[in-house]
Symmetry: C2
């Protein structure tokens, strides 16, 4: 059985399997979603109309025993940025699809005012009425669905924020506990899914043949090399930084560097940040009986995830990632993990991107809706979304939208998308990535923090404004990694350990039966970015959109009191503009 | 006394007069606002931040006895389109500025959370506290201000919609009765004014020297030629179409052509439209004791204006223009002049652009907030703005914003600005103008209706999709007219009567002491458009923004059942892209 594309027509409620075209065989994850979106979607179509398409694709090695490779990419034209979007998540949902030899699901057309779920099994595809879950929180819905479809299915969903067609909505996947906590969060793809009338995809892999491996020897050798690298590197090894404290290990580090944005990017450091650090959180989880370390999808070595709960181990939330803790915490002047946990739970329940949620709350606080630091009122704003009030509709559309509604001019977005947890005035390279990626402000697109702060892949002075080359190299490598199905966090190991990178390429050769070398990686990554940039250009983007908002260039950031300072020329050097 | 620029720093609450630079001497109106904005405003600045500038400029012959020349241009970076904006209005305010030899007022900086008024006299400039008028409707406020500053001043204001920083807000000027009914409405310039902390400008021309005329003979000759043309042409002459019925004479004509958009651009014709026609309105005004014909500023020959009132001549609104009647009427499924009058009054009172208001109401109706045709509920939505509720904040930001908040995909905007009263599927040339003007959808930027429907300046089949040349020629000519201070409606006469155009050029030569000929007009207009396009390019606009929304290309418009059908190549031919 060769790899297939499942094409879903929501207008007609029909679906069919197509053979994966020969020229798509070496494409997975982001390479495949971006290629299909670029090929099939009119860049000037309305992102919430029938002519946008929502594409799901597991990575090339996803579903195999390659470690830490359970990522799924979701792509479409973004209602948040207006450009091409790829967001990815780690979830068994992806592994199931891959083992069923489904290279991609392409959802097209539109079913208005009535929601369906799509059940995908080896026997075929079924549309079922999903109207009864309309307007319901995803924690409860996921419980219902697992009861109805069995514990072993994978579930993808759009939530209430998606029903609102909110540009801050994400696409939700299940974690190993069945919680709705793994998100392809960014860019409003939950709204694209909802606009199609598609509420859930349920995947049951019973009888799946598994991923075909064309060169088992190469594959096994690759797995071993990568495993060795991951279990050796200080950031990724068992008992290492990510395993012990999760991504929140960054809280103290970035705060110390003066680059942890506080209260809607008005300062880069606050003594209280330590209260929400990864170290404090890991202690708390141990005390109250959550889980840590923990994987987001089976087969992960790094295991940076966790299950955060209320005291006593009650009401599990799922992971509190660094970005979420920061967005819903210091960026809102909130320094209390339980409040952050409740806000994160609300986001998961509503189908909201946590970064965009923190961004929009920060702007709402600046706009005077509620006070900085008021977690209770922040939770009330989440209820406005749940209740679909006019205020909820404003909030569900993200930080830029809230900024316009309330006349706020300090709005930290690029291409309409909220900035993540690193202030570009204190750490310049990540700012170059925010500005120049095809995705809107996105740290994962070219994680310069690795080099600028963590000393991974070499070192670079965070204050040095010459960062075009660093950002470009990382963006290109990332595009390649995002296509493999490997978690981006393997990059910590493979940037420093050459055999690890070789191992990645070996596993790709194993799956594809190819003879790629590490020298082929940059070209592969660049071609993805070229495809995405071509789409964005046709959607009306120019280098003038590869800029940070004005206030980063004019307002100094305490305590370092820097402005961004990277020239437009340096930004344009990233893609040779 | 030579012509001056009044530069107002709202950060420091300081103002100073500067001599008009030598290279600006031949610039007035739109030529001057666009030149100053392009020269002094960073195209990537936040439109509501301290670095945007709001520029007011009367036209070159404004304040003289040249007929129908009382226009004022207002320019800035637009919070609605993100590009350069010039909106203009006919008002004695402009004539007063011109006679004080103030070529432009440039408002810069920002005063946060406190509103001031600026009083401008021949003795100098004074800032006064305006906080007591915060949140008040402009009909009452204008009464107060005329009482406080005397009947003979001119008043410019931003209203509640501006206070909300709403992108649908306009800049208001007084009409001859002192009503707040003459608007430089488009593009959210009321919000720019409010963002500066500037609530009103009061102009008292006592002691003004008048406009300097360098060649009285040329000027007088020009006035005569233009007067002859205006009093001869069927559209502009006393007792002609505009004089008898106002701009609403178009209702029946455009409805007949199948191009009068009904219910958010879902049809192009409705039998009920006749109930809100100019003919019916003129009869009603006569019955109830309003005024018609009427001028918007002294010295107008055409006198297309009027004073609409409640029955019995009570509660005067001011003019109900064709665009306003359509926007608040048929576009909302409303076919009752009294309801339309009340909605128009609400817009004037709030400081809202009537076209954008009709556009946003149509989208709100499509989004299910209220029903099409429900005027009472439409008035309640206006109250939401007045009360500054969350719904009001959504509405005050215009049709595109409402569309995003409510997940509506049929959103008739170009560059974020609502389409005026001609469906481009039925009348192609005006669609070419909507798409390609620097201003966002704007009929006045190149009024192809004149030729396509009215047979002025030649004839053209409205269904013919080859309209690049027609639109370009009109856009270029319009840019020139918008700089003279003449009302665009003189174009009806001067497009058909060569001596009229000569008269216009003669009056310019009279004021400037130049030897321009009619052959200089296109170059003058083109240079303004070049300046504006350069700004927009630097703000990130490309030919991909010179497009109509997707639905005009896909959804046929009853009853003609055409789609737009003008190719991208034809659109790009307008500016040689």
């Amino acid at each position: 059985m060769s790899k297939r594309i499942l094409r879903v027509d929501m207008t007609k409620l029909e679906a069919k399997f197509e053979d994966l075209p020969a020229d798509f065989v070496a494409l997975g994850g982001r390479a495949l979603t971006s290629t299909i979106v670029a090929k099939e979607v009119d860049p000037l179509c309305h992102p919430l109309g029938p002519n946008n398409k929502l594409v799901f694709a597991p990575g090339l090695v996803t579903g195999t025993k390659a470690p830490t490779s359970g990522r799924i990419s979701v792509g479409a034209k973004s209602p948040l940025t207006g450009g091409i979007k790829e967001a990815n998540a780690g979830t068994s949902f992806s592994q199931k699809l891959a083992r069923m030899r489904i290279a991609a699901i392409v959802v097209e057309g539109q079913q208005k005012d009535h929601y369906h779920l799509l059940k995908v099994t080896m026997d075929g595809v079924e549309f079922m009425d999903a109207q009864k879950w309309f307007g319901k929180g995803l924690y409860g819905v996921y419980k219902d669905l697992f009861k109805e479809f069995g514990d072993k299915v994978g579930i993808c969903a759009t939530g209430i924020a998606g029903e609102l067609m909110g540009a801050a909505s994400g696409v939700c996947f299940n974690d190993p506990e069945g919680l709705p906590s793994r998100y392809a969060g960014r860019g409003g793809l939950g709204a694209v899914m909802a606009s199609k009338g598609l509420k859930f995809i349920i995947v049951d892999e019973t009888g799946a043949p598994g991923v075909e491996i064309k060169n088992q020897e190469a594959f096994d050798m690759g797995v071993k090399k990568l495993r060795d690298a991951l279990t050796t590197h200080d950031v990724t090894k068992p008992g290492g930084a990510l395993n012990s404290y999760g991504t929140s290990v960054l809280v103290n580090i970035i705060n110390e560097a003066g680059g942890l944005p506080q209260r809607n990017f008005s300062a880069g450091q606050d003594d209280q940040s330590e209260k929400v650090s990864g170290e404090v959180k890991a202690d708390e989880i141990k005390k109250r009986g959550g889980a840590r370390p923990h994987f987001c999808s089976p087969g992960c070595i790094i295991q940076c995830s966790e299950v955060w709960t209320k005291p006593g181990g009650k009401e599990p939330v799922g992971v509190l990632e660094y970005e979420s803790v920061w967005a819903l915490g210091p960026n809102c002047g909130i320094y209390d993990l339980d409040t952050i946990g409740e806000l994160n739970r609300a986001c998961n329940d509503l189908g909201l991107d946590t970064i965009e949620a923190g961004g929009l709350l920060g702007v709402a606080m600046e706009g005077g809706l509620i006070d900085f630091g008021d977690g209770k009122d922040a939770l009330k704003l989440m209820d406005e979304i749940k209740n679909k009030t006019p205020t909820g509709r404003i909030l569900a559309n993200g930080a830029a939208f809230v900024g316009q509604a309330y006349g706020v001019t300090r709005v930290p977005v690029v291409k309409g998308q909220s900035l993540p947890a690193y202030d570009p005035r204190a750490i310049k390279g990540i700012g170059v990535t925010y500005a120049t990626t095809t995705q809107g402000a996105d740290h994962t697109a070219g994680y310069a923090i690795a080099t600028e702060i963590l000393g991974v892949g070499g070192t670079a002075d965070p204050k040095d404004t010459k960062k075009a080359e660093l950002s470009r190299n990382l963006q290109v490598a990332t595009a390649a990694v995002d296509s493999t199905g490997y978690c981006l966090f393997i990059a910590f190991a493979i940037l420093d350990i050459a055999e690890g990178l070789e191992g990645v390429v070996d596993t790709l050769n194993g799956v594809l039966g190819t003879n790629l070398t590490v020298n082929d990686v940059p070209g592969y990554g660049q071609s993805i970015i070229d495809t995405e940039r071509e789409f964005n250009k046709a959607a009306g983007f120019t280098n003038k959109h590869d800029r940070l908002p004005e206030f980063f260039l004019k307002e100094p950031l305490p305590p370092g009191n820097d402005v961004f300072g990277v020239t437009d020329e340096e930004l344009d050097k990233v893609w040779g503009g």
